[in-house]
């Protein structure tokens, strides 16, 4: 099966505030507040239009010196952020 080449970017209109243990994000369109823990913040930051899911998992693995790939965790995190419209897929080039 071909590798998923989808990349993501952060949605527009998010108001982000840093707190000691993560980020608080206010989304004006839905009038919802989200809290991202440091790992979710890292995934969110990697949603800059340049990284695929597999690349994100690789970067997290290196950052946290993990022995196993966190592919499932990245998948779950991206799914939640997509469901909450915090990120959107980039149009394929």
């Amino acid at each position: 099966m071909a590798e998923d080449e989808t990349r993501y970017r952060q949605a527009e209109g998010l108001e982000i505030t840093h707190v000691p243990d993560g980020w608080v994000i206010y989304q004006e369109t839905s009038d919802r507040v989200h809290f991202l823990n440091p790992t979710a913040v890292l995934v969110f930051e990697l949603c800059n239009g340049r990284h695929t899911r597999a690349e994100m998992a690789f970067i997290l693995s290196a950052a946290y010196q993990l022995t196993a790939s966190p592919a499932d965790e990245v998948e779950s995190c991206l799914s939640e952020m997509l469901a909450e419209s915090l990120i959107v897929p980039c149009p394929s080039s």
């Binding site: 982000i16 707190v19 000691p20 608080v24 206010y26 507040v33």
Partner: protein, 279 residues
């Protein structure tokens, strides 16, 4: 001429009333705590009888005319607006601010959870109550909104030593005709003082009518969620939510299923003692 005093955090509204009957109604919103901080700025307002109604020119060019009850609503709105202006960007937690042996505790819960009755019980036992409606989360501390306790007649039976004073306090009728009383936290003999709150313990109340009171610690995540659900948010919600996150993260937090008041008091004493050891 009777004068009704209503203090907010930086202002003292002095409402001069030229009619005794209107003064009796407006006494309900009299609010006279000692406010820690700079001297309050006085704002003099005059209620005049005009025909069968009353007239009051409020700050910002607002004019209220009508019955004494109508003026009471207008003054209430104006003083609440004043308080909100004094705490810019602050989310308002729906809760009571109390101090047990000096340890600040917020009792947080929706209307009907027993917050006011518990606050009264604590007043009766000599503890400090600053307010039981809103607590503003400022950038570096918290502060209670100056407001009297609003007590239903039925609640007075839970605090027998205060019942006579409660039932003599200024009152207004509710929609169903029963009276609700405006009771100063000074009723128990302690001065009513409002001071900045640092590192409070959070206690989220749930009603357990007729049962025993039970308390259990809760996680930061749960505390943050409960705070978000119990807040009035200002504009600038991300910053406001970040303030709540900091409070949740730095506080000890508990959930209290509020049944018997004696049990609640015991739990709160234990919680306060635990907080004092931590600090």
């Amino acid at each position: 001429m009777p004068v009704i005093l209503i203090r907010t955090l930086t202002r003292e509204f002095r409402i001069h009333v030229d009619a005794q009957d209107a003064a009796g109604v407006l006494a309900y919103i009299e609010t006279r705590p000692q406010i820690c901080g700079p001297a309050l700025r006085s704002i003099d307002l005059v209620v005049r009888r005009v025909g069968g109604f009353y007239h009051l020119a409020l700050p910002d060019g607002i004019v209220a005319e009508g019955t004494a009850s109508h003026l009471l609503d207008a003054i209430h709105q104006a003083t609440f607006k004043s308080f909100v202006e004094e705490v810019p960007g602050a989310p308002l937690i729906h809760g009571a601010s109390i101090r047990i042996d000096g340890a600040p505790i917020l009792l947080i819960g929706a209307t009907g959870t027993g917050k006011t009755t518990l606050a009264l019980r604590l007043v009766e036992r000599g503890h400090v109550v600053e307010g039981d409606e809103h607590v503003a989360v400022r950038a570096s501390d918290l502060v209670a909104r100056p407001r009297t306790l609003r007590v239903k007649a039925d609640s007075s039976r839970f605090v027998p030593t205060l019942a006579t004073e409660i039932l003599a306090a200024p009152s207004i009728p509710e929609w169903n005709g029963s009276l609700i009383y405006s009771v100063s936290p000074a009723i128990g003999g302690n001065p009513w003082q409002i001071a900045p709150i640092l590192a409070p313990t959070l206690v989220f109340l749930e009603p357990n009518h007729g049962g025993h009171t039970v308390a259990k610690p809760v996680s930061v995540e749960r505390a943050f969620g409960c705070l978000m659900a119990a807040c009035l948010m200002p504009n600038g919600k991300a910053e406001a939510a970040a303030r709540l996150r900091r409070v949740a993260r730095e506080a000890q937090a508990w959930e209290m299923s509020l049944g018997d008041l004696e049990g609640a008091e015991k739990h709160l004493n234990r919680i306060a003692s635990s907080a004092m050891h931590l600090h």
